[in-house]
C-alpha cells in the first residue's frame, strides 16, 4: 500500500476481545435507540423519522465525499427526487411506488449526465459548481410556478403505499424509514469493503497516482456521484411522502449546509459518520426551540471546533479512545 493512501475502515484481522465487547455494546445501544421511538409518543417518532431520512441523505453525500469530491449542492438531488416523484405521479397517474422508482431513475440519469460534466472539476471548483447548480435548481422550481406551484409548493401529497399497504401513520412510516436508513448504512459498508470502495479511497487520496495504476478517476467518481445522488433523491421522495407537502424553500442553501455539517461533525471518511451526524444534529433544533439563531450559532461553532480538534468527527471517537488506552 502506498503511503498517504488511507483505508479508514479496514479493521485489524484479529480483533481484541475488549474491542468486540465494546462494539457489541454499541450496537445494542443503537438497537435500543431505534426501537425506543415506537413507545415514546408522536414527537419522538417524528424526530426518529427525520434522523433516518438524514442518515440516508447524508450517507449519499458521504459516498460522494469518499471518492474525493465534496458536494455543496446536495439539496439538488433531494429536490429532484421529491418533485419528480410527485409530478411524475400526477402526470402519468402512477402509484407511489412506481413514482418512486421513476423519480430515482430520473435522478440517476440526471446525476450521470451532470456528473460526467462537472466531475472534471476538482477541489473548491467542484464545490462551487455544485453550489451554483443547486441554486439554479431552486430558482427553476420557483420560476416554473405553473408546473411546480412556485413558492407556495405542492400540498396534499398521498402517503407512500406498497401493494395496498399505506405507510400513513407515524408508526408505520418510521418502520419504513428505519429499514431504508439501515439499508443505506449496509450499502455503504458493502461498497467501502469492495474493490470499488478501495478504488474510491484511492482516487480521493491521490487522483494522479490512481490514474497511473489504471483507475479511471472520472468513472470511479461518477459511480459514487450517481449512487450518492440517487440515495439523496430517495430521501427526497420519502420526505415528501411523509410530510405530504413540498416547496422550494426546503432546498435552499441552508439545507446543503446542514447536510455538510452533519457529515463533518459525524465524521468524513468513516462508515458511521452519517449515522452519528444525523443522530446528534437532527434533534438539536428541538433543544433550541424558538431560537433558531442559537441553534445555527451552535452548528457554526461545532463545525469549527470539530474540524480543529476532531477532524475525524464523532465517529472517530471510539478509535481515538482505543489509541489513548493503547498508549497508556
Amino acid at each position: 500500500m502506498t503511503p498517504g493512501l488511507s483505508m479508514p475502515n479496514t479493521a485489524p484481522a484479529a480483533r481484541q476481545p475488549a474491542h468486540a465487547a465494546w462494539q457489541a455494546a454499541g450496537f445494542a445501544l443503537l438497537a435500543a435507540l431505534a426501537v425506543l421511538p415506537w413507545f415514546s409518543g408522536p414527537f419522538a417518532l417524528h424526530l426518529a423519522i427525520q434522523v433516518c431520512l438524514n442518515v440516508l441523505i447524508v450517507g449519499g453525500l458521504a459516498l460522494i465525499d469518499r471518492a474525493g469530491q465534496l458536494s455543496f449542492g446536495h439539496s439538488a438531488p433531494v429536490a429532484v427526487g421529491a418533485y419528480a416523484s410527485v409530478l411524475l405521479g400526477q402526470w402519468l397517474g402512477l402509484d407511489s411506488l412506481s413514482a418512486l422508482l421513476a423519480a430515482l431513475a430520473l435522478a440517476a440519469v440526471l446525476a450521470l449526465a451532470l456528473g460526467w460534466v462537472i466531475l472534471r472539476l476538482r477541489g473548491v471548483y467542484f464545490v462551487l459548481v455544485t453550489f451554483a447548480f443547486a441554486e439554479l435548481v431552486r430558482l427553476l422550481l420557483l420560476d416554473f410556478a405553473g408546473v411546480t406551484g412556485g413558492a407556495s409548493g405542492i400540498a396534499g401529497i398521498a402517503p407512500m403505499a406498497v401493494a395496498g399497504f399505506a405507510f400513513d401513520t407515524r408508526e408505520r412510516f418510521y418502520a419504513l424509514a428505519l429499514a431504508v436508513a439501515l439499508l443505506s448504512v449496509l450499502l455503504l459498508a458493502r461498497v467501502y469493503d469492495r474493490p470499488l470502495g478501495r478504488a474510491m479511497a484511492a482516487v480521493a487520496a491521490n487522483p494522479a497516482l490512481a490514474e497511473s495504476v489504471g483507475l479511471s478517476v472520472l468513472r470511479v467518481q461518477l459511480v459514487a456521484y450517481v449512487l450518492g445522488s440517487t440515495m439523496a433523491a430517495l430521501g427526497g421522495v420519502l420526505t415528501v411522502r411523509y410530510i405530504g407537502f413540498v416547496s422550494p424553500e426546503s432546498f435552499a442553501t441552508a439545507a446543503s449546509v446542514a447536510f455538510i455539517t452533519m457529515l463533518v461533525i459525524g465524521g468524513r471518511g468513516s462508515l458511521f459518520g452519517p449515522l452519528a451526524g444525523a443522530i446528534v444534529l437532527t434533534p438539536l433544533p428541538e433543544l433550541f426551540r424558538g431560537a433558531v439563531q442559537t441553534q445555527h450559532l451552535f452548528y457554526g461553532a461545532a463545525l469549527i471546533v470539530i474540524l480543529r480538534f476532531l477532524p475525524g468527527g464523532i465517529a472517530s471517537v471510539p478509535a481515538r479512545l482505543r489509541n489513548l488506552r493503547g498508549r497508556a
Partner: protein, 289 residues
C-alpha cells in the same frame, strides 16, 4: 421607445452595480489568492459593514464618510483576529478551510440576528436629487457611492502596487513558498490579507446600506455575485475579477430590459456553470486552478 436612451441608462446602472460587485469580488479573490481559502463568510462581512455604517450614522450621529472608514477599520481588525485565532490551522487546506468559513458565516449571521433582530432597518440617504448627463439620469446617492467605491479601489491599487505591504501580499499570491524564502513573514501577511479582503466587503456593505435596507440576511446575495464574478474572472486573479465584475453588472442591467429578473438570474447561473467547465481557470483572467 428611444433605444439610445434605454441602452445608455442601462449602461450607467450596470456600471454602478458592476463597481459594487467589484468591491465584493476583489476582497474575495484576494483572500483566495493569499491563503487559497474560499471564504463563505465574505457576505457576512458585507452585512457587518452595513450594520456598522447604520450604527455609526443613526446611533452615533457620525457623518457617512466616517461611518464607512470606521466600518472598514473594524472589519480589518476583526478579520485579522479571526484569521489568527480561527483560520490559522487551515491555511492552504482548501476544503477544511472552506467548511470552517461556512461555520464562521453561520456564527456571524446568527450573532447579528441575536444582536439586531430580524427586521430590516432603513438608513437615511446620503444625497438627494439626480444628476443628468447627456440625457442619462443617475441619482446623486448612487453617484456618491460610485465615487467612494472608485476611491477605495484606487487606494487598493496603489497599496498593492507601490507599497511594501502590498508587494508582500502580491508575492504571497504569486508563490507563497518563494515569498517566505525572501523573508516575507506569513504570520503578518495572512491576517493582513484576510483583514483587507473582508474590509473591502465591509466597505461595499457600508456603501450599499443607504441604498437598500440593513438586515442580518443581506449578505447572501452579494456573496453569490462575488462567486460568479470570481469564477468568471478566475479564482485569485484581481484583474480578472475587475473585468468580470463590470461585465456582470452590465449584463445584468441589459438583460433586465428584455427578461424578467429571475430568468436573467437563471441564465447567469447557466453562464457561470458553462463558463467554469469550459474555462476552469476563468473566462477572463488567469486564475490558478
Amino acid at each position: 421607445m428611444d433605444w439610445g436612451f434605454v441602452i445608455g441608462q442601462a449602461t450607467a446602472n450596470g456600471l454602478v452595480i458592476g463597481l459594487l460587485y467589484l468591491l465584493m469580488a476583489v476582497g474575495f479573490t484576494l483572500v483566495f489568492g493569499v491563503m487559497r481559502m474560499v471564504n463563505f463568510a465574505h457576505g457576512e462581512f458585507y452585512m457587518l459593514g452595513a450594520f456598522a455604517a447604520w450604527v455609526c450614522t443613526t446611533r452615533l450621529q457620525l457623518p457617512f464618510l466616517a461611518a464607512v472608514v470606521l466600518a472598514a477599520a473594524a472589519a480589518l481588525v476583526l478579520g485579522a483576529l479571526i484569521e489568527w485565532l480561527v483560520l490559522k490551522p487551515f491555511r492552504k487546506d482548501e476544503l477544511n478551510g472552506m467548511i470552517t468559513t461556512i461555520g464562521l458565516a453561520l456564527i456571524l449571521q446568527n450573532g447579528a440576528l441575536m444582536l439586531f433582530g430580524p427586521d430590516p432597518h432603513a438608513m437615511p440617504g446620503i444625497a438627494e436629487g439626480a444628476t443628468t448627463l447627456m440625457g442619462i439620469a443617475v441619482p446623486n446617492a448612487r453617484l456618491a457611492v460610485v465615487g467612494f467605491a472608485a476611491v477605495v479601489l484606487a487606494a487598493l491599487y496603489v497599496y498593492l502596487r507601490h507599497t511594501r505591504g502590498g508587494r508582500a501580499l502580491r508575492a504571497v499570491v504569486e508563490d507563497g513558498e518563494t515569498a517566505a524564502l525572501q523573508g516575507i513573514r506569513a504570520r503578518v501577511v495572512y491576517p493582513l490579507g484576510f483583514g483587507i479582503g473582508v474590509a473591502l466587503a465591509a466597505v461595499a456593505g457600508a456603501l450599499m446600506a443607504p441604498l437598500f435596507s440593513v438586515s442580518p440576511f443581506i449578505g447572501a446575495a452579494p456573496l453569490l455575485k462575488a462567486f460568479m464574478v470570481v469564477i468568471l474572472g478566475g479564482l485569485g486573479s484581481v484583474p480578472g475579477a475587475a473585468v468580470a465584475a463590470l461585465a456582470l453588472g452590465l449584463l445584468e442591467s441589459y438583460s433586465s430590459i428584455f427578461l424578467s429578473t429571475s430568468t436573467a438570474d437563471m441564465l447567469l447561473f447557466v453562464l457561470v456553470i458553462v463558463g467554469m467547465l469550459a474555462f476552469p481557470r476563468g473566462l477572463i483572467g488567469r486564475g490558478e486552478a
